[in-house]
Amino acid sequence: MVSERLSTGISELDQVLFGGFPTNTLNIIMGAPGTGKTILAEQITFANSSPQSPALYLTTLSEPLEKFISHGQTYAFFDPSKVAESVFYEDLGLIVRERGIAALPDIVTEMLIARRPRLIVIDSFKALMELIEESPEQRTVLFDLASVLGAYQCTSFIVGEYTEEMMADLPEFAVADAILSLLKHATGVREHRFLKIEKLRGSQSLPGMHAFAIRDSGIEVFPRLLTPQTSPDYDLDVERVSTGIKGLDDMVAKGFWRGSTTLVAGPNGSGKTVIGLHFIREGILRNEPGVYVGFQENPVQLARIITNFGWDSAAMFRDENFEHMYRSPVEMQLDNVATELMRRVRGGKIKRVVIDALGDLRKSSSDEQRFSEFMYALTQWFAVQNVTCLMTFGLHYGVQGQDVSDEEISNLSDNIVLLRFQQGPEVKRAVRIIKTRGSTHDHREQIIDISNKGMRITPR
């Protein structure tokens, strides 16, 4: 039987928890200092409080109550008008210091009677327990407290600076129904935040580490992308999608299959972005809305390129069939980009996606294997959504090289278009189709011409 769920107020975290935390349970939010435990606990508290369903937030000995209020108010989810109306803060640490730790279950009972909360947070519970760390009372107090919270109909969260090693030893982990841990991980100068569901009694959750960010609005979660359960519908293989470049379409039997992923690889200046722009523009003309995900050209720079081809960039940016999703590669995060992109695609109208360039996205990942799995899941998801995707990929060679040697990257795509510079007295750009999945293609290399009218491929 599926238990009733308490939404966290963060839809993507609810997705990770398969709907939220089961109600009337005791849950732990754990992590090192500065990982965002209190922000998450407060966000859940404010999302779930109303005069009919009040919340009790008990601060202890980790930080003074005033700090919780002052810091909490810097986030958009913190509604000061709810405080003392439906969110009740109490300094439990102060009362416990006066009455002793053994009185903790009584103190909490009195508060439950006074406030009748449906949600209760104890932050930090670990700091409270440390008061009696060496004492045999700890287990009794915890047992009594768990009994009180279990007997009363409310969903409880205990917050603490626990480490993974403590999970096996501390009694609170034995009684907890769900355990959510927050982690910080640094790669170079970048810092990545992840959350993980360590335990969710009686329920499934989305496995693995899920990236999250702390914004002015609060915590934003980017669930780890998994391969979709549903397979792409191969009946889709009846429709071709034009790239907007006639010569290129002709090389792959009038365009790529709808729902397929195409990798356009080549060195700098070989025309990868130009093909991407043609592909998106063709979508606009055919009423097939598209998202152009770019990590190098900001909107001004992209508009300049578009204008250079004699296309009306202002009209293109205004067109409802065109979305430009620009992310600076400096602070970009893989999951963040995917979540935003998927949110746009889920809107239902997007038919085409260009990712320019895959290398930037790859650099933003802290783990190569994770990147490959992620991209596989993303392209599979596009296929299920009937979205045709074109990804560019920069190759680090000059005029000599001609293959995509990166197996991980090439395996991600149904089709591979290779661009290169041809040797000779005059450097020429050339295109060759290396691979098309489930289709025939022209094996010959063709010459590309890029002018102020865009790209042209002249068959020979």
Binding site: E66, S70, P80, V83
Partner: protein, 141 residues
């Protein structure tokens, strides 16, 4: 709460030191507030929760009640409403002094002024002095 045997707030009020009732849970903050308010020439009494504050206000009739919103049993805004709705305590000036951005709610509750923490003694003393001046003008005291 100060020892009632050694201190007589009513007597201090008679001696020209305006009595201020401060509602504050945290003893550390209480100490700070006592120091600065007494140094400014006021007599100070404390209550650690809203219910005790209401009783003290009725008993001591202070000139000003300075209250945090986040106090146990009866929050500062409810205390303010209770004071302002009781004819016996209606004339007591209420200053809501809180970490919580609650200026509008304090005004709605009938508070005479609102100050946002953190504690800045000069600002608090000036506000208390201004409020006392107002009460003197209004009552002719």
């Amino acid at each position: 709460m100060a020892d009632p045997v050694t201190r007589n707030p009513l007597l201090e009020e008679e001696q020209g030191r305006a009595l201020i009732l401060v509602v504050e849970r945290n003893p550390v903050v209480q100490r700070l507030e006592r120091f600065f308010l007494e140094q400014a020439g006021y007599s100070v009494e404390f209550a650690s929760d809203g219910i005790a504050a209401l009783a003290h206000a009725r008993e001591l009739n202070p000139r000003i009640v300075v209250t945090e919103v986040l106090v146990p049993l009866l929050d500062g805004l409810s205390l303010c409403r209770a004071l302002k709705s009781d004819p016996e305590t209606r004339s007591i000036v209420v200053l809501v002094f809180s970490h919580l951005h609650a200026k509008d709610r304090a005004t709605e509750a009938g508070a005479d002024a609102f100050l946002l923490k953190p504690f800045e003694e000069q600002h608090l003393i000036e506000t208390v002095a201004k409020l006392l001046q107002l009460t003197i003008k209004e009552t002719g005291a």
